[in-house]
Point group: C2
Chain length 182, copies 2
């Protein structure tokens, strides 16, 4: 793993815990023992450029995880497996890891517009990927339903994190069914 990759993956990790403002360059560099010069060599525009790379990287990592959970299953069992993946992430991180995109997106209205666009792009990628999955299973109105499912999951994730209890995510299994049949 080269210096650039280390920077991006570590930033992605810290972002999930502390968001844009809470993630400090010095903290990142210290944790992987990379000097500042290297950071500004790979990311001349500094923090914001690094954050954008981390957002895209985190989004990609997430889509792979979800894709694996969905693969080869019916729509309902696949989505339930995806919910289990989210629950596991929360529990494994002791409820410290937020959704990697939401963690940044929440402050996005007040930071550089290019960062918001990166979040937007990742969200859209997730949604389209899910829509394709539903389409392949002969479901109708896949755009609308995939949008709705992501909204539900995103909200349930946040509520579960705040409560330190995955019950909101579990509840989604019931309503996944309702949405698919709607």
């Amino acid at each position: 793993m080269n210096t650039r990759e280390k920077l991006v993956s570590t930033t992605s990790k810290i972002i999930r815990k502390k968001g844009y403002f809470g993630t400090g360059i010095n903290e990142i560099l210290k944790s992987i023992e990379v000097p500042k010069g290297s950071l500004y060599h790979h990311f001349p525009a500094g923090k914001d450029e690094l954050i954008i790379a981390a957002v895209l990287y985190g989004g990609e990592a997430q889509i792979l995880k979800y894709g694996e959970a969905l693969r080869g299953k019916t729509a309902e069992t696949g989505l339930n497996a995806m919910i289990d993946v989210m629950s596991k992430e929360l529990i494994d991180s002791n409820f410290e890891d937020a959704c990697p995109i939401a963690a940044v997106a929440l402050a996005a209205g007040n930071i550089d517009e290019t960062i918001r666009k990166a979040c937007d792009k990742v969200f859209k990628g997730w949604q389209q990927s899910l829509a394709g999955y539903l389409e392949r299973r002969g479901i109708e109105n896949t755009t609308e339903k995939s949008e709705q499912l992501y909204a539900m999951f995103e909200g349930a994730y946040i509520l579960s994190q705040a409560h330190r209890d995955v019950k909101y995510l579990e509840l989604q299994k019931k309503f996944v069914k309702v949405v698919l049949e709607a």
Copy 2:
């Protein structure tokens, strides 16, 4: 409006835009021209104590707004009015204001536990208030449905903010119906 109230309401405003880490004490004090000594007189424990007060204050303000939107309407039209309130908030703030609680809750796993508990308390208050509202309209399974509705709204709010388009919130109107009838 006394100094304490000014501190709390201003902090609540800034929190919505920048979250816990992005909200600086100096910025708050400067914007309302209050000296530091006053802050530490009213909130001896400093930033965290102020943030908690702001979270509770913001939660209370929100519940009043929503209550007003719901009042005297059927469940479905009331909830649609509530969705409109959220959309209006986003648009009026140029998509800069996040949900006042989510903005803090997202980092809550990594800051003082008492702050997370304040977020939790507000969320629970919202949910119970909505459950009571549904109950009074003769709807069944009100606990589960109010939890689900808040998860949906929370997620739709975040997605709408990231997209700078209230279409995700609008979409909820369709699924409010579905949830109520489930």
